[in-house]
Amino acid sequence: MLSLALSNLTRRRLRTALTLLGVAISVGVLACLLAFGKGYEAGLGRELNGMGIQMMLVPLGCPYDAAARVLKGKTLEVSLPANSLNIARQEGKVEVAAPLLMATLPRPAEGRTDLWVGIDESVRPLKPWWKMTTGSRWFPDANSVILGAEAAATELRQVGDTFFSPETGRKFTVCGVLERSGTSDDSQFFVPLATAQEMFHQPNRITAVAIRLKDPTQITEVSTRLQQVPGAQVVTMAEMMGTFLNLVGSVRTLVSAIAIVALCISGLSVFNTMLSAVLERTRELGVLRAVGASRSQVFCLLSVEAILLTTLGSTLGVVLALATGRFVEMGVRLFVPMAPADTLLNLSREVIQQCFMVGVVVGLGAGLYPAWQASRLQPVEAIRID
């Protein structure tokens, strides 16, 4: 029966090929979409988890925007009093609380803006991906700076070089250079917190406190308590993720709509192919009935053909998605906020299975009516057509 169905598909090669292509493209889009959703979520989760931060204390205002800015290396207009750090540190369930003071330094002569970040030792456990190049040391004195890999490259500085910042009138010694990490850290200038506060005239102010808990499950409890800190508010990473995903959600809805339209069109083309196959082969189907095929067997034959068509198409589509996923990802990155650094497309087995399921369902749906039509043929009606 299967080989009979297969042999029927090979007889109108062009039509079969076109139908296959239609199914393949729509399933390919669907596969990319699903994979992208999964990959984005996973990538985002990984990135946030990698920081080991469960929550962040930011100034009052739009909390998500603030947290996102801190995470992505942008400055805030407002800041927190330094004592909020102490409050966080006194909270018994907090393992690490690291202060951050971020400030931009416009460099009109070079036509760019540098980002300076004031930190102290406590930030190191929160940035496990930091690797210093050989010879680097942690800040030996107040006028030391650690450069991100890119910052070091643009400044043409190595460990041990001195470094004058005309805008602030200060002279620094480069005590360390970070290896490239692919994060926003690469282009930043890190200085001791006190130096930053002085440089940017923010005595006793900080931009945010990044917090890691001893036990991540106590997140709600701790966040309600820290909510009391005056002038500050708590953003948990779960909330952050939700916000990011919501942002992406609207993009996804749009692409989903496109994928659904594409699937409908390919379903229609399968429908058309099958229906015209039934019309064309009326006589042959009559012969089948005449030599003893039951209605259900004829129905099965046509359904198998339709499913074969869409399954083959889905296979092609998945292959297509695998082949072109890179380019799709490049396009998607242009539109998606806060795209994680690692690959967005996650063509997992689960995604591939889902695509096949959709393919089979479309095939079944589109093949149902033609197959039913075929099964209704009386042997004699079919034979009579000349």
């Binding site: 009935r289 030599v291 209605r295």
Partner: protein, 238 residues
Amino acid sequence: MVVAMYAKQNEGVHERVESKVLVSAKGLTKTYRRGTEEVRALDGVSFDLQQGEFTAIVGQSGAGKTTLLHLLGCMDTPTSGEIIIGGHSTKGLSDRALTQLRREQVGFVFQHFGLLPTLTVMENLLLPTLFSKREAKARANELLEQVGLTQRRNHHPNQLSGGEMQRVAIARALINRPQILLADEPTGNLDSVNGEAILQLFHQLHREGLTIVVVTHNPILADATQRQLVLRDGQLVP
């Protein structure tokens, strides 16, 4: 149930009980509706076919020959009247039961061969067994041998001559060891040489005890049969 009853009939073939009625048509009438007009293709046709009989249905074009053959082969149902096969009426049988009858009791040879172009000779031969889930390779080889097409088993229909296609069609009709072979103008599309070969094949099958009914315009074929049923305007001419 239907099968059991025919298995018994099968033994009859070998005994060649001349008087045994295999098929009985009683007052067969078939009307077609063409728009508002009613066409009476068959009008009260009654006859008996004996087991092992070789019969020709002849008559002018439009007389209702094909219609009658289809009714005999359970390809269609009469408007009124009934067909009794092996003592059992086919009247009111379900589509499923009729399908089973077609598959197991009737071998039908179409005027246009009815071979599937995408399948090879062998696959075409085995087509009916695809639906009965019966292993029949040996039977297929035997039949190919009988119709002299063993070398052609892996060819496709478009690589065959008309006579060869007709022989494949006959072999296919016989694969499930039917009680009766029905052929609609089996020599209609063939030249006289190929027509003669088909005629010889029918003779051989007849000698083996098969009941055969052919619809034909070919006087040679009609004269070679034991009995002729002449149709005119849907009625049997006595």
